[in-house]
């Protein structure tokens, strides 16, 4: 017997052709016979590939459930995943780390004004903020700092409220002592340093952020000027509960230094940078376009070689030697402030940036009771900031 559609050999009792799947005459008769209804419903002579339908239905259900949940919870839906990730990373490292990435880089982005550059900097952290524990009071602190000091992005993330408040107090006092320094700092953020004890806090005058490798003829660039707080210290209560001198050694920083006062030291670096920009008629280096690209590159090289800071120290040293009838050299003068203030580079030259930062640190901690050497540096700085 042959199938009428494909002419394959079939058996007399087949309902369907084994080759083309079409009904045979017997199969057609079987389907037409009303007494076979129950048999057909139970799967005889009918195609019931149930599992595949179930799979498709379940897939649709997953998609709609995911869309619904995302609509209801937004990015908060992923908080449990972030929480688990944090726990795993913290377990691996053995201490609390920051989930926030401060080293993102973006390419081929159209940024056409300073305002757009600032918005981009804000957006980078806003997109990550859902990964931080929700704390309204902490968010308020961040907002106040952003608002009061024109810092586009402040992100403490998982720093405790108490610690964040202490840091804010430092920043508040520094901006009160030096009111003319607004406008160049773009970020204060918690971060993971390359090695856990690399630094406690760090000032980065220029972090190339957007369109780093793109041609300036095609894309404008964005730089961040930021103060970074090392998570190894600021997220770990067991570290913060120890005196800072236990970690860095006695007399490394100026007397009475605390974990939070190191932020004043970093703002000290920032103040040098602001003075440097001011002397070159620049307010910031955030937005880079064709017209200021070369200038900013040249200036940053000049700032990095330390000559500018050394000139400030030299000026202060001359005043100091005249006032106190001494004849100190640059290094001995810096050493009167703190050990950190007198650190040298690999070639044995004084790192004048650190001397200025430590003098400002001293001013922050002791006001006009600071060391006479710091006082002379502060005088020069204040005059240059006017």
């Amino acid at each position: 017997m042959k199938c009428i559609f494909c002419e394959a050999e079939i058996e007399a009792d087949d309902n369907f052709c084994w080759q083309c799947g079409e009904y045979t005459s017997k199969g057609y008769a079987f389907l037409k016979d009303k007494s076979n209804v129950n048999l057909i419903i139970n799967g005889a002579a009918i195609k019931q590939n149930d599992r595949f339908s179930i799979l498709i239905t379940l897939l649709c259900l997953v998609i709609f459930a995911f869309m619904g949940m995302t609509y209801l919870r937004g990015q908060d839906l992923f908080k449990p995943i972030v929480y688990l990730k944090k726990q795993i990373i913290n377990y691996i490292y053995g201490y609390n780390t920051s989930i926030i990435k401060t080293d993102n880089k973006y390419n081929r982005i159209n940024v056409n004004s300073y305002e757009e550059a600032i918005e981009f900097i804000k957006k980078d952290f806003q997109e990550q903020s859902y990964m931080c524990y929700s704390n309204l009071e902490l968010s308020t602190l961040e907002y106040e700092m952003q608002n009061n000091y024109s810092i586009p992005s402040v992100i403490f993330c998982d720093i405790s409220l108490t610690e964040a408040q202490k840091i804010k107090d430092v920043v508040d006092k520094m901006y009160a002592l030096f009111p003319n320094i607004k406008g160049a700092l773009t970020n204060i953020a918690i971060t993971n340093a390359a090695t856990n004890s690399e630094y406690i806090a760090r000032f980065q005058p220029m972090y190339q952020f957007v369109n780093i490798n793109d041609d300036i003829e095609n894309y404008n660039k964005v730089n961040k000027t930021q103060i970074l707080l090392n998570s190894y210290y600021f997220l770990n209560e067991n570290m913060l509960s120890k005196p800072i001198s236990d970690i860095v050694g006695e007399n490394w920083y100026v007397n009475d230094a605390t974990w939070e006062s190191t932020v004043a030291h970093e703002i000290g670096h920032y103040i040098s940078f602001v003075i440097f920009l001011k002397e070159h008629n620049l307010q910031n280096i955030t937005y880079v376009n064709k017209s200021n690209y070369e200038l900013i590159n040249t200036l940053m090289k000049e700032f990095d070689n330390g000559e500018f800071s050394k000139n400030i120290i030299n000026e202060a040293l001359i005043n100091y030697n005249q006032k106190y009838y001494t004849n100190l050299d640059l290094f001995s003068y810096a050493a009167t402030i703190s050990n950190y203030a007198s650190t040298k580079d690999d070639e044995g030259n004084l790192i004048a940036d650190e001397t200025i930062a430590e003098a400002i640190h001293d001013y922050y901690l002791h006001g006009y009771s600071m060391k006479s050497s710091s006082y002379e540096i502060i005088n020069v700085i204040k005059r240059k900031l006017e």
């Binding site: 369907f16 084994w18 799967g43």
Partner: protein, 59 residues
């Protein structure tokens, strides 16, 4: 000889369609894959529900 997944009747190894119910005969691996996918999707649904509930519990 093998068995039709749909009607459980015996079919020959060379058959493309079941002679009794007309169902397209697939390899065993096809059915195994669908079953595994169903288990995976069910786990996804359970995971999503757990994630949704946990998102209210984690600060």
């Amino acid at each position: 000889m093998k068995i039709c997944y749909n009607c459980k009747h015996d079919v020959r190894d060379s058959d493309i369609y079941c002679r009794t119910c007309g169902c397209l005969l697939q390899k065993n691996s096809h059915y195994i894959m669908i079953n595994v996918c169903i288990i995976f999707v069910v786990l996804c649904i359970l995971g999503l529900i757990a994630l949704f509930v946990a998102s209210y519990l984690v600060e």
